[in-house]
Symmetry: C2
Subunit: 582 residues, 2 copies
């Protein structure tokens, strides 16, 4: 039975770059990319990628060399997701919101042979090169991407390498192109993505061709993205390869609508002009969407499908965004999982629930994608699966072929990540009886008060429901009795008249908000301190920097402590615990 | 870059059996199987499969042993698609429409350790065992599947093994179950499917876990099958594992509605009762659907999605079926490709075309699935790709990880199938400028008349459009001048009054039909003989047996041959050729 040898016809390594070739053959008349006045078809994008890859090869790029890129969501950024691996190299898309120091640290660690850089980042580049060791900066080939649509005057010297020149001069032959699509081993790396997590030192996640292929297909199925979507690039492509949508849109023969700046006018103009059907964004972008007018659904076949992740989307915010003509789906992922790992797959029967319950279900992280072999929630001490009761917390762990290969040059972090034979996400959650996973917190964001775990996310969810609150983050602050207690940082809604708010009605008193929390949470979970902020500190991806807030909270004092109050607290606490266990 | 070792967390062999475990965890409350009064949930199906696999292991089933099954679309048949490979064995589902001799030949070739057989096939079994060599029949473990819903009295002796007993007695432990889902190598065989093609000797196609996994996902995406479909089993599961839908329905957390007999009342009753959303069938089943009344769409969220294949669906038939509330999609596949290889992906702009053009586009075979690396149409002599002009014919060839491992114990046939590094399908087709492939004929069904290729399918399509024709098949008959000429075998529509036909208006004259063809085809392509049949000869899968028709056609004589007419033919022929080349 088992003596059948594998051959060329039935054993082709899995790689998402085949999606490009397929798109050029199966969707020859369809638009691949739209960016301002630029329009390409799939055969054109295919041709440009082949030429770029040929040029990279002629620049002596060898297998597994790293090629870094620093650019916004412009066509070049999309093309490189195919052309760089087609040349056998590894794409390293860098977060453009990082400062020169962080980028220099990444380049120093990744040791790329080439850096592609958008011309608009030239001042940043000078800073970066200044910070790099002399040898590194000397050996690094810089290639500028000149974006014709910006008013930036081309200042390049004749010696400078230019992206479009590379494409123009790329010499392709049919045998060379055939070689580009015939990768040797599907476990070979395709990209190197530095995590933009809230941790101190960034780690370089190595993604394989196999992982990227499987993750792309899982994203298509998890989101239910049909053929020929029109996809608007609001999510940065540097962010985990745009959650693998870079490759997935090609797989579906879709159209990539690129925008340089994520602003409300740009988003709404492009949605209307190109009949956008799909987009991804973190919940913080929802606030940008709310600046626009409702979509004219009479001119569309349906709402714009929005995939969101990064953090749980607050139900109230989702409701508002959906009223504008967007249909929100929530996914959970991490760079180490090569994009989304869980999708909150909608169940038809949920449509019959009241809206607030629907929103609550929508905010859960959901069920495993099809390319993972297993997803579980485990007790971090015993490594046993938690019961599926929606209450018992544990760490979310995953296993499967779409998980990263590991961290570049970091065996210690790789070992830690893969301890016990799983990818340990560091996220604490529960499994509900319907199989859906819900994150309660990052393990390090859990607040431990009197030995009880408090999920900061749960407290934040309650705060977000308050109609005057725009953003909220809850962290631990020291407490003389309970060790830790929740401290809330909130940004209030602007008193904009079009939202129906009035300045004089704004909640401005700490006590009022704490009182509101007490009405909606067990007492021990309520913040004992509320700080009002103009804005919350965020990283380059718009993720709230909780370590910074924790630092701030450390110096705060709970002012209600006296021996009498301690006793009172104890009573409250015990009562609450009982309540929360019922 | 490349020194990251693979580990348990990121390198899990691909297999569709993980879909079962995932379904039990992600869709715990959903119905997995409905069959008459029987209802199972996904955790129940998971549990039953684990128990059955445990029983198989206790019967000393070893890795790569073959387990054959002869059963209609009942729950046991579905469960075995998971339980048999979970025990490390290879599932061999046998076409129940074959005669004892053919089945005995398959068993003799496949050498299974176990044969599961539906109790209703007991008389057939006796015949089969009689035909098997004594040693084979002695060593074969027979396990009866007792179907409670049939009136068949249980006649088993106490010594007989019974399917439900196996499930009842299966002893599972968590470590045993963990082992069942941890396959060693994704290239290991999962199933052995004998082709039911029209060729003389059946070949055993060996399908790998990897191929089955990828094909299932491709079927989901190609068809656009969302989560939680309600799938009606009209297509036999023994037919290429139900085009991989056996596994794909589990991947989507769907409900399998099983029926033993494919009749109009059964189909329509189950569609209404269980709100069926999806089904697959060959175009010949459309004639069964036409016996039913239109679906009540007011009670449904939309039409029933029908995936069809096996042969191109005649446009007129599709139109009729769609009017009843079905939405037809066409796919092309073969057992050697582990199911569908091309899907006729609908393009939104086609919706604006007139119906007959839409139907024509719908009848094309379509574009490559995502798990194939390449699909091409090649000149059989030069092995060069044909131009994408919709005219130049060549052989359809495919390449990718979902292609079969090869034919069991048949190195010669395996070598032939994989010649030139591709799976050679033996189907002749063209590529249109929009990337869609259209089959013109099986290479052996091509009629060569005066050196010109005539696609029998093209002639058949014209015949099918005639409103009085129910079924048509065109084959070559000898011709003294042209070598071959088309001969049509047709079945006329019944003169049923509810179809609006009258007996006296039936086309009964050969000449009328030939005249009709001349109005719609180049003359050299028109049949010169029409045979009227009560029914067309078909194989177990409802596929028309063209070799049989060719045999019949051999003895027929074209009666219009005289020296004068030959001259006339020549003129016609040349004129036609010019026309067809324009």
């Amino acid at each position: 039975m088992d003596n059948l040898a594998l051959c060329e016809a039935n054993n082709v390594p899995l790689t998402p770059i085949t999606f490009l070739k397929r798109a050029s053959e199966c969707y020859p008349n369809r638009t691949s990319i739209i960016y301002e006045e630029t329009h390409f078809t799939w055969p054109e994008t295919y041709d440009r990628c082949c030429r770029l890859a040929a040029s990279l090869l002629s620049l002596k790029i060898a297998k597994n060399d790293v090629v870094s890129v620093l650019a916004p969501n412009i066509p070049a950024m999309y093309e490189m997701h195919f052309a760089v691996p087609m040349a056998g190299a590894v794409l390293n898309p860098i977060n453009t919101r990082l400062d020169a120091k962080s980028i220099a640290a990444i380049l120093g660690h990744a040791q790329p042979k080439i850096l592609f850089i958008d011309r608009n980042f030239e001042p940043l580049l000078r800073e970066i090169l200044h910070l790099l060791p002399y040898d590194d900066s000397l050996n690094l080939i810089i290639i500028f991407i000149q974006d014709e649509s910006t008013n930036f005057t081309k200042r390049g010297s004749t010696k400078e390498l230019d992206y479009e020149d590379l494409i123009r001069r790329g010499k392709t032959t049919s045998s060379l192109v055939a070689r580009m699509f015939r990768i040797q081993n599907e476990h070979d790396p395709i990209s190197l993505n530095y995590t933009s997590g809230t941790t101190a030192d960034p780690k370089g996640v190595v993604v394989s061709h196999r992982g990227a292929y499987l993750s792309s297909l899982s994203a298509i199925m998890g989101w239910g993205m049909g053929t020929c979507p029109v996809y608007l690039w609001t999510l940065p492509m540097f962010h985990c390869n745009g959650w693998t949508l870079t490759w997935a849109v090609a797989a579906r023969g879709g159209t990539n609508v690129c925008i340089r700046h994520v602003t409300a006018p740009k988003i709404f103009k492009n949605i209307a002009l190109h009949r956008v059907t799909h987009m991804c964004c973190v919940p913080t972008v929802f606030n940008i969407l709310l600046q626009g007018k409702p979509l004219d659904l009479s001119k569309r076949s349906g709402p714009v499908q929005v995939l969101t992740g990064g953090s749980s989307p607050p139900g109230a915010l989702v409701t508002k965004v959906q009223r504008l003509g967007f249909q929100v789906m929530h996914a959970y992922g991490l760079t180490e999982a090569t994009g989304p790992a869980l999708f909150c797959e909608w169940q038809e029967e949920w449509n019959r629930l009241p809206e607030h319950q629907m929103m609550k279900l929508k905010g859960r992280q959901g069920v495993s994608i099809l390319s993972l072999a297993e997803v579980d929630v485990k007790n971090t001490k015993t490594q046993e699966s938690v019961p599926r009761d929606g209450k018992t917390m544990g760490e979310i762990v995953i296993k499967g072929s779409s998980v990263m290969k590991g961290y570049l040059k970091n065996p210690k972090a790789t070992f830690e990540a893969f301890k016990h034979g799983w990818l340990n996400t560091g996220d604490m959650g529960v499994i509900h009886s319907d199989g859906h996973i819900e994150i309660k917190d990052r393990s390090k964001d859990i607040i431990i008060s009197g030995g009880e775990n408090i999920s900061s996310v749960e407290v934040e969810n309650v705060l977000y429901k308050h109609h005057k609150i725009l953003e909220a983050a809850v962290v631990a602050m020291p407490h003389p009795v309970w060790g830790e207690t929740p401290c809330a940082f909130v940004v209030l809604e602007k008193g904009e008249t079009n939202q129906g708010y009035r300045e004089d009605k704004l909640v401005t008193k700490e006590r009022d908000l704490i009182e509101y929390c007490r009405e909606n949470l067990p007492r021990f979970m309520c913040p004992r301190k509320v700080m009002f902020m103009e804005e919350l500190p965020k990283n380059g991806n718009g993720k709230i920097l909780k370590p910074k807030l924790r630092d701030m909270a450390k110096s705060l004092v709970v002012d209600d402590v006296s021996s009498k109050k301690i006793q009172q607290h104890e009573e409250e606490f015990n009562g609450d615990c009982l309540t929360s266990r019922l």
